[in-house]
């Protein structure tokens, strides 16, 4: 549907993609920090198993974050 010269379908797509990508990228990086911080705390407390699990969680979140960034850069090209 076009109102005046504006394609409202395109506009709606920009809105939802932006919200999803913007909030998603911040949430994923926050999870990286959460995993890293908890891994550090667990390591200091001598809980090596938990430290390893949290580090793996942080790594997983970072990979997802990196994929999101790569997708964004690809979209820009």
């Amino acid at each position: 549907m076009t109102v005046l010269a504006v394609d409202t379908g395109l506009l709606w797509q920009v809105v939802w993609v932006s919200l999803l990508a913007g909030i998603g990228i911040s949430a994923l990086f926050s999870l990286v920090i959460l995993g890293g911080a908890r891994a550090g705390d667990a390591r200091r407390a001598g809980r090596d198993g938990a430290a390893l699990a949290y580090a793996a969680f942080a790594l997983l979140a970072f990979v997802a974050f990196g994929l999101g960034v790569a997708l964004g850069v690809q979209a820009m090209l």
């Binding site: 504006v6 809105v15 932006s18 913007g22 990086f29 959460l34 550090g40 964004g72 979209a75 090209l77």
Partner: protein, 365 residues
């Protein structure tokens, strides 16, 4: 068009590109400097390098600036020249007052004003102005405001119970990445506008065919001009965006930049033209307001929004006035030469007065 006038248009386009770089440095680096994720000099150096690199990534949108907004058949080199002068004047005025505003809208405004004075209303497409300027100017800051607000609430929710030290360090590290993405996308999008303007001037001069590739020297000079402008750094605007809208913590800085980069990339992906300045400013306000509404200095925010509203008409007025002065000289040759000589003389006088007063002229003022 004679070669001398062609080079005047090329030089003016590169001067606009330079002001675009230093005016928009703040978009990529202001939040990183404010939260001390990067030192000021390192931040602008990194942004300059990535702006330069970004200019080589894509040439997809070169020559599309102002298309669909003014009738390309009626545009002459004098109209482009006057439009560029209007855009440069508005960029310098908003830099002087430390107000972030859209360089793209200034360029469009300048060309619309000069085309209107030259050819009347038939040269300007109203629907194009609504489609490419008015609607994006309303959507970009609101969208970024909402996304920034939600993003920071989600981030606080996730890391809220962790020790502040590692969290702040983590977000500062993230800001280096998000600032890099913003600088790269700025170089990709904005340097192409200058390439497009120079390309059009070369085609109008008969130096190139309309279907030719953008010459390498155009790409390199546009990339260099925007990178040098970025390196000089518009410190007045960096101060406004980094610390005068909100006093931000590293999480807010990352959320604002991350949301900004995501919104710009999403908009680029679907081909919707959004201003980087509007997006980043809106995201900064959103991350501040989500924490506490009174955390945003609404007076400063109001001044910024006023500058956004005035960008198109003010640049159009200067562009139109410049074209009127150019037209006074009666020919396509003499007009741009006389006006550019007068502007260069005024610039020389201003520089001379600064030097005599013992002050260097920098982007810091």
């Amino acid at each position: 068009m004679g070669d001398f006038v062609l080079w005047i248009v090329v030089g003016t386009a590169l001067a606009f590109d330079f002001t675009n770089g230093f005016h928009d440095t703040a978009n990529a680096v202001a939040t990183s400097i404010s939260t001390r994720a990067l030192s000021p000099r390192l931040a602008v150096t990194m942004a300059a390098i990535l702006n330069f690199a970004g200019a080589f990534i894509s040439l997809e949108v070169a020559a599309t600036i102002a298309s669909g907004i003014v009738d390309a058949e009626l545009v002459t080199p004098s109209i482009v020249f006057a439009g560029l002068v209007g855009a440069i004047a508005w960029n310098l005025a908003t830099w002087y007052w430390g107000l972030p505003s859209s360089s793209s809208h200034a360029l469009i405004g300048g060309v619309v004003g000069s085309a209107f004075v030259a050819e009347g209303g038939r040269a300007v497409f109203g629907s194009g102005v609504v489609d490419k300027v008015v609607v994006p100017a309303l959507v970009a800051p609101l969208l970024a405001f909402v996304a920034g607000g939600i993003a920071i609430l989600v981030a606080y929710r996730i890391v809220g119970r962790q020790r502040p030290g590692p969290v702040a360090r983590g977000f500062r590290l993230g800001q280096v990445l998000s600032a890099s993405l913003l600088a790269l996308s700025h170089g990709t999008n904005d340097a192409q506008k200058t390439m497009g303007i120079i390309f059009l001037a070369l085609v109008a001069n008969g130096s190139l065919g309309a279907g030719a590739d953008v010459p390498s020297w155009v790409v390199v000079s546009a990339a260099a001009a925007i990178a040098i402008g970025t390196y000089v750094g518009g410190w007045r605007i960096i101060r406004t965006m980094g610390s005068r809208i909100i006093k931000m913590d590293p999480a807010q800085g990352f959320a604002a930049q991350g949301v900004g980069a995501a919104v710009i990339m999403a908009a680029s992906h679907v081909g919707f033209p959004l201003s980087t300045t509007h997006v980043i400013s809106g995201a900064i306000m959103g991350t501040g307001a989500a924490k506490r509404v009174s955390a945003v200095r609404w007076g400063v925010a109001g001044n910024i929004v006023t500058a956004w509203v005035l960008t198109l008409p003010a640049a159009a007025a200067v562009g139109g006035l410049t074209y009127a002065v150019v037209a006074l000289f009666g020919t396509e040759e003499l007009g741009p030469i006389a006006v550019s000589a007068a502007l260069l003389t005024a610039l020389g006088v201003a520089l001379g007065r600064r030097l005599i007063a013992g002050r260097t002229l920098t982007a810091e003022g």
